[in-house]
């Protein structure tokens, strides 16, 4: 065997071991590296009240209510599987709205309401001009089409 081939095999073996190690590490990190809990994760695993977490999902349409004090908002967060009520006092980001993604930082109270101390708006992967607002990206045809 030529030295060149020996080096090639050595390099490829090292590369395969590295990729294996990387994938193992990534899958082990799967839960730890998650940036937020989805409502279904909260329901399935249970998060003790008072533990600081991030809760991420969509703001349920029609659930957004503004309290009488003008700065407190109530809304529900969903991931399509479960639904969690949340409350926040303060200034929400401009892109925070019903039907849009949100990541809330805070903790659950004893009654199961998520008390957010900070809100982040999560933008999704759809980009379109204003004229097309309300249209949906069709996964099958890869075209924009009229939404609900």
């Amino acid at each position: 065997m030529k030295a060149k081939h020996q080096r090639l095999i050595l390099a490829l073996a090292a590369l395969a071991a590295l990729i294996g190690a990387g994938l193992l590490a990534a899958s082990a990190l799967k839960d730890e590296a998650a940036y937020f809990y989805a409502p279904a994760d909260v329901k399935a695993k249970g998060v003790e009240p008072g533990k600081a977490i991030r809760l991420g999902g969509m703001v349920v349409k029609g659930s957004l209510r503004r309290a009488a004090d003008g700065v407190t908002i109530h809304f529900d967060v969903t991931d399509g599987k479960a639904r969690v009520p949340a409350i926040f006092s303060g200034i929400a980001p401009d892109l925070f709205r019903e039907g849009s993604g949100v990541v809330a930082e805070g903790a659950f109270d004893t009654k199961g309401t998520f008390v957010a101390t900070n809100l982040l708006a999560k933008h999704d992967e759809r980009y379109m001009p204003r004229e097309l607002e309300g249209m949906q990206y069709d996964e099958k045809t890869h075209q924009m089409k009229a939404g609900q």
Partner: protein, 240 residues
């Protein structure tokens, strides 16, 4: 590839190619930025901030492509002992680091109005920051372990370049594997969820920045080769 083991033959092609990449690249960037700023409509949700994508996306691509190039060059250096591979690896590092930094900075500027935060430790942002640190580590290691009269990187730097490549698929998959604040992939092999009216200038800047990147790498390779030549001549003179 081994045809270019001779630097003279490489230079004969690299010299005119640099200009052929640089000027069309610059024109495409200017055209793409102009169209992206003044011609395309604003996004329905993000408004005008969407326009940063015409810089952010090419920068992210080149940051990752730069390291992929470093890994390929490292493999060619370690296995085939190609004389230009170590020069190419070193030439790729600085522009790769620069575009990674541009990607992080533009992303941060976009994140403030869109998400409501300059920085969050989510999977995509953290892995991209790790890429910047890898670049800085690679440059430091290359400078520290360079041998006199050799413009390229040492074997240990090449191994570092190969090992660091594991971060590239992690960056790419980070928004799929983990819940992240950064949105999922908009442009996939199956199509784009960015509407065509917003998408087309991205093609111009994407190609433009890629050509410019190629031109910068070629310029740096030529510089390193010229330095080698000077070093060799000085040593010959010193020996008398």
């Amino acid at each position: 590839m081994h045809r270019f083991a001779n630097p003279a033959r490489f230079l004969k092609i690299a010299r005119p190619l640099t200009g052929w990449l640089f000027w069309p690249g610059l024109s495409l960037i200017l055209a793409g930025c102009f169209c992206g700023l003044f011609v395309t409509p604003a996004d329905y949700l993000q408004g005008e901030t969407v326009r940063i994508l015409y810089i952010h996306v090419p920068a992210a691509w080149l940051g990752m492509a730069g390291w992929s190039g470093i890994a390929v060059a490292a493999l060619m250096q370690l296995v085939w002992r190609h004389p230009l591979a170590s020069i190419a690896g070193r030439a790729l590092a600085a522009p790769g680091a620069l575009f990674t930094a541009i990607c992080l900075a533009t992303g941060s500027i976009w994140g403030r109005p869109t998400w409501g935060t300059w920085w969050e430790w989510d999977g995509r942002m953290t892995s991209m920051l790790v890429l910047l640190f890898l670049y800085l580590g690679y440059i430091a290691l290359a400078n520290a372990s360079a041998r006199q009269g050799q413009g390229g990187v040492s074997a240990v730097t090449a191994i570092f370049g190969l090992v660091g490549a594991i971060n590239i698929p992690i960056i790419n998959r980070s928004v799929v594997w983990w819940n992240s604040l950064h949105q999922g992939p908009s442009i996939t092999l199956r199509g784009s969820s960015i509407d065509g009216s917003l998408l087309w200038p991205l093609g111009l800047t994407f190609l433009g920045f890629s050509l410019l990147f190629g031109a910068i790498v070629l310029m740096r390779m030529r510089t390193l080769l010229a330095r080698n030549k000077i070093e060799a001549r000085m040593q010959r003179l010193a020996r008398g």
